[in-house]
Amino acid sequence: MTYESLNDGGFATGTMMGSGGFIVLDEDQCVVRHTLSLARFYHHESCGQCSPCREGTGWMEKVLKNIEHGKGKMSDIDLLWDIQRKIEGNTICPSATPPHGRWPPRSVTSVTSSNGTCCTPTRRSSATSAWRIMPTRCR
């Protein structure tokens, strides 16, 4: 994987490399919880000047919190995608522009999309109390 391979603004792959940092998770990690953690971070970091980010990041966090607590709905995944699409590129700050990659909602939704099948509310594993990545379904 190189910067160039993901350099199309994330249109083909739905993701991007950002500033080059990686978080590696093994298959026992809860994707939703990590995503929620990201969403909470971006909600907290929002400066509040322009409306899409001020209102949208908090909304995404609440939706993810719902999923995390087992109250999610199938439509939440589409909702997260739609909120992301409506924040993306419509804000003041350049960090919200895809090539810079420090883009809060994109990093949130690219996780839910690549693992959309296993992050649905019905797939909660009771043993570990976590959303499991199931390689067979996520391929």
Binding site: S46, C47, Q49, S51, G58, G89, N90
Partner: protein, 368 residues
Amino acid sequence: MAEEKKLFKVKIDNITVEVEPGTTILNAARNIGGEVVPPAMCYYSKLQGSGGKCRTCLVKVTKGSEADPRPMPKLVASCRTTVMDGMEVANITSPEVLEARKGVVEFLLINHPLDCPVCDQAGECDLQDLSYEHGVSGTRYEFKRRTFEKEDIGEHIKLHMTRCILCYRCVFTADQLTEKRQHGILKRGDASEISTYMRASLDHTNFIGNVIDVCPVGALTDRTARFKNRVWFLKPVDAHRECSDPKCCGKVALWLRGDEIFRVTARKDKYGEVEGFICDTCRFEKKDIKDWVVEGPRKISRHSVITAGHYVGVHKPQETVVKVMDGRQPKLLMDIHTVSEVNLPQVDLSQIEGPAHSTDFPKNKGVQ
């Protein structure tokens, strides 16, 4: 010899307009007028530095300029982007823009209480118009909305922070019209709020009342007029007076019912912006019709709810029928009483006791 000023040619939604260099896309669109004007919630042409916050005026620049025809990579805020020569802009012709605007309206509304039925701004609210024109009817937000305590900031102004959309207009107003600003945005993110730190009162200056006029929603309202009447029951008239304050333009709109003044505001144009700022003495203290020189009824867009019940432009015919017919009396082709028993001239309904009955109208009377 002074060089002739070159005008920039801009195409907005395929309508070409020539504007001076340095004009923003929004103002170029306002030069055209009509539907191509993007809505603006935070931009205010009379306030320096306003705009860029609400993102409702996003447009797509399909061609950067004549020299560099590449399109801009993302949607731009038309109120803060200046035009280039040969620029091509898509506003209502771009589905992408309409979709983004729909999203922005949704974002603005998710934490708005939607208490229009009890809100004083209802009927002249920019957010109401915006969501009606550009929003969707439902909401997908199912969480608790952000709320704040109502606050009296000063003797005349009520702050209802829950309704605020954080456009920053009132902050710029206080900065640019008054000597010292005493309120601003506290905190950040979705916790940010307009407030006077330590609950100070905003009565220190004679121009702070203008924050009520610039507020696009019902977050800042006039305490002397709150809950007195709905705007559509009042009749706006233009009036003026000699104001001793040199900064005050003295030209106002009075909101009347009969001869009683319910509210005094500055005159707002079709974009919801005041034509001239007025002082607090005019706004809050001159509530007697004798203080003012009334110029005449104010013209309100017929699409506004304020025009409900005001028949503007009704022309009564000057001539009577007799005059039109050169002095001849109109001739009736048929007298209704020759064929109908109802409402005979000799039967006075008000003289009949109780409800009128068929026996009150003699059978076959009048029918030959």
